[in-house]
Symmetry: C4
Subunit: 312 residues, 4 copies
């Protein structure tokens, strides 16, 4: 790997440091999240509940809500039970304590949701105070839930599909790195800009180096069809002269940053992706994406064909 010597290149500072790790590292996960864990701020020091609630999966959110609902009603049922079932009018006169507890659980549910059928109702000050507090808590909880649900829906996101592979394809007189991306959703992405960086271990300096890659086109007005991003592998490229084994040996990673505007929300959205050496295919080119126009002049494209390439 003589090409590492005597080369003048401007190393970029991306915020990942320049330490060379003993094992293979991955700075960006394939889903675009940063692959770093921060410790030392206490057990919950780096957790931001709201951020977690709006970015977790739908299943987990539903579980959190259901568990919270059962737990809070259990808690208040226990409180009401300790006040005494006799302070609740209309309570089902079941045979034992358990049925009383169930009845108070349902009373709690009717209170926290402000449903309030009223066939069970509090008698006396202690029970009434507890119920008044529970209904306040209920309203505030559902205010939070409203905020979380709105936060999830309105969160600006770029739903971008990246080709599974990054290719070394013929380009003009030489070669170029190429990958494709497309908008997965029907809402438009406009004014899209892409930046591609590369990071690898430099065996000369024994440091991790970062470089921005020159692109043929960096910005387009509409991300309507697919967009093939092209980095020519010429003398100006920090990857000029890399062999296939160099890509693997230097633990290379391509970092893709896409900035765009979601047209429905008129807000900036960001997307990231990363390719490692095993995503790289040499001597291949992407198949043209099928794009036809129907009778009304509407253009139809098959987004799922974005991954298809052919070996040369």
């Amino acid at each position: 790997m003589d090409f590492f010597k005597n080369r003048i290149r401007t190393v970029q500072e991306l915020g990942f440091g320049s330490k060379e790790y003993k094992q293979s590292v991955r700075f960006l996960n394939p889903d675009g999240s940063v692959n770093v864990r921060r410790t030392g701020l206490g057990r919950f020091g780096n957790i931001d509940i709201y951020h977690w609630l709006i970015s977790t999966t739908r299943t987990k959110l539903v579980m959190v809500i259901v568990i919270w609902y059962i737990a809070i009603n259990m808690l208040f049922a226990a409180l009401y039970f300790s006040i005494g079932p006799e302070h609740f009018g209309g309570l089902d006169g079941g045979p034992g304590a358990l049925q009383h507890f169930f009845g108070l659980f349902f009373f709690s549910a009717q209170t926290i949701t402000t449903l309030g059928y009223g066939h069970v109702y509090p008698i006396g000050n202690a029970a009434s105070v507890a119920a008044a507090f529970e209904s306040l808590l209920g309203l505030l909880s559902f205010a939070v839930a409203t905020g979380v649900l709105y936060g999830r829906f309105s969160r600006p996101m770029a739903h971008v599909l990246y080709s599974k592979n990054i290719l070394i394809a013929p380009y003009r007189d030489g070669q170029a790195l190429m990958f494709r991306l497309a908008n997965k959703k029907q809402s438009e992405l406009i004014e899209s800009e892409v930046k591609v960086s590369v990071t690898f271990n430099n065996p000369e300096t024994r440091k991790r180096e970062f470089y921005n890659l020159n692109l043929e086109i960096e910005k387009i007005h509409f991300l309507t069809l697919s967009w093939t991003i092209v980095h020519p592998l010429n003398e100006e490229s920090p990857l000029f002269g890399f062999s296939n084994s160099d890509f693997v040996n230097t633990d290379i990673e391509f970092l893709i940053l896409l900035k765009s505007i979601n047209d429905t929300l008129s807000q900036n959205v960001y997307s990231r992706y990363s390719y490692k050496a095993n995503d790289l295919v040499e001597g291949a080119k992407f198949k043209p994406l099928q794009q036809i126009a129907d009778r009304k002049g509407r253009i139809i494209i098959s987004v799922d064909h974005i991954h298809q390439f052919e070996k040369l």
Copy 2:
């Protein structure tokens, strides 16, 4: 069409590709939406429910809500019915099963809205659990509805009226393409910027080409009156020398992109419009827009006169 030869022009990449279609295509619909359909991501792969809910018509949204309300109450009425009408106190003792079902439907409606009159109420654990769950579901549903309604209202939009036609009008010593636009709403648009691109089939290259057009003024501070956008048809224009038939034969389309700031919301808003060859009128000019000042120094304009032009 000799003018297509030997001309040096910089083709722009807008994101629509350069394929020449057999039939006439339209990249932007007159309402500004992009005229492309994405397939291949499964039946619902490219649908974003929230985006649909906040951008659909008011009528469709009301229909969705009403149908959802009837359906969910039917569902819970059926569930309550399967638990047994005898587990609901105060239920109207109608003559048959149907009236019981109706009664449970109304009980469901009173539960999901957390209305809870209480003249009908659940007896026993199964009925109480179902009702407790329904009221939770109701609150979450209305949390979603709150988010959707707020999302619709607060969605930043530019309500811009474009003149129906794009004119080739006299301009200084030569000619210029001109169209007008105006703000339809009373809330102000500030710091407006416009970009105009043109696309046509180049018979030489047999490709669809895209060019940005030079404009006399690209940015204004206030969009208070009408704004006439002017592209001089001089040597620098990619349309210099086009005849009327060229506009039709090359399947020309003018793509208008307007970026502005909604002053009430302090947010960026975007508007798009497109003209095809049949919107083009040669040898005409826009009539001046009526603008008078009242006694208090307030200026009054008639926005609907924006379309008016006179043949020369």
Copy 3:
């Protein structure tokens, strides 16, 4: 006014046109709103209800809500009355129809707010359907109200106090136009930028002309104290050589545009202001704003002194 001749100045396009009006006009109201009314889009064509609701005064909003609440309950009371008071259990057996109507009005209020005491309750299908529909309507209405109230609170606004007068004050070897502004609220405005334009009727061209004015400082990081904006009246100024009567005769207006970032909300905010000839004071300078530091190193300023100047 010979100075209007033979002068080379770049007229700016601000979006107000160049028409000369017969009477004195005002492009910006003192509250910063644009003094233009758009007609010709039908009676309600240019009204945007949400924008009105979030930008109207608090008093008007409360009135709208209260009137809506009474009207909708009157409407449903009438509907329930037409269904028949006998279809509502527990209704106060008042002496006549009026008391029944009142009872149904209160039942409607308990339904639309999903309060549902239940001492009055619907009997039969017609009454139950109407009540189920009313409670749905109620929830959606309060969803809208939530959106409107949040929209009002979170609306990014710059609460900027402008000095009542614009002065012609001594500046270096000559004179300069000066006015002051300050942040009225405790939340900080950062990265503030100001642009000042001037418009007057040019007696030579018989057109309204617009010019941007050069400022000593256009941008500051913090708007913590007051900020005196200074336009030197030198040869480069379009106002160089104006006499006091010129300011009046040309119907001059100074248009101030302030862009800033509200630090609490991290959002852009905009403020506008306008001075007319009668706000102009020649041969005066602003008194320094009182600013002292307390024992803890905290700086205290008196914002209301911003208007104070002294004649020279």
Copy 4:
């Protein structure tokens, strides 16, 4: 301090004025808030309730809500009491007025939360009107609460940890000012930009001067690890030649401004920090931050080690 003479430096206008205060002042508090109080706008003139509610501590917000809840129910209980307890059906027939008041207090709580058990209910027009009004007020109040809670959660903030000290450390052939910062939360900060200004009393001019400091790197793509900000103390620095006592005597303050994008919310966030002379440590350097990679290629850093330095 001869170095103050004959030096050409461009003073920056940051918005803090140039007055020299008799005592030591602090322009930015360590939490980043601006240390200025504005007076003269009346008692509540500069208070913005919404801004206070979304930026106050959680404890204070809970207290405000609870006190409001108790107060409003007291108020309505008094109103209902003045109407007369006999106008409320089902009221606990306690021995005296106090128990009636308590009963009406709980009825008020059930009304304002729209809980409405209905075991207590209004009789007659006066009581019904009051209850109808209270339930409207309740819904609007909880609409406000929803907005405040959402505003708090969704408020874009940069949770940045700054090193406790700013060091004068060896740098290349000379020295440099250095401090470190790191992201405290798991959500990413991207496209971070930092600006560092310095302010001190110039004994020559007897004014407070402000300068921007040149930085080695001003912008990074990811704030994943720690970021050491470096200002070389060379001839171009306004602090070149300062002795340790100069830092103290001139009442120096370093003002840090960080602009970043919160990746979860895709919104701009701002952070500020300030160092005074007593935070400055000469002849020290930061210890490298521990950063290891686990088996899966994930990098782990200890954020709390950011403060650690060693004396040289």
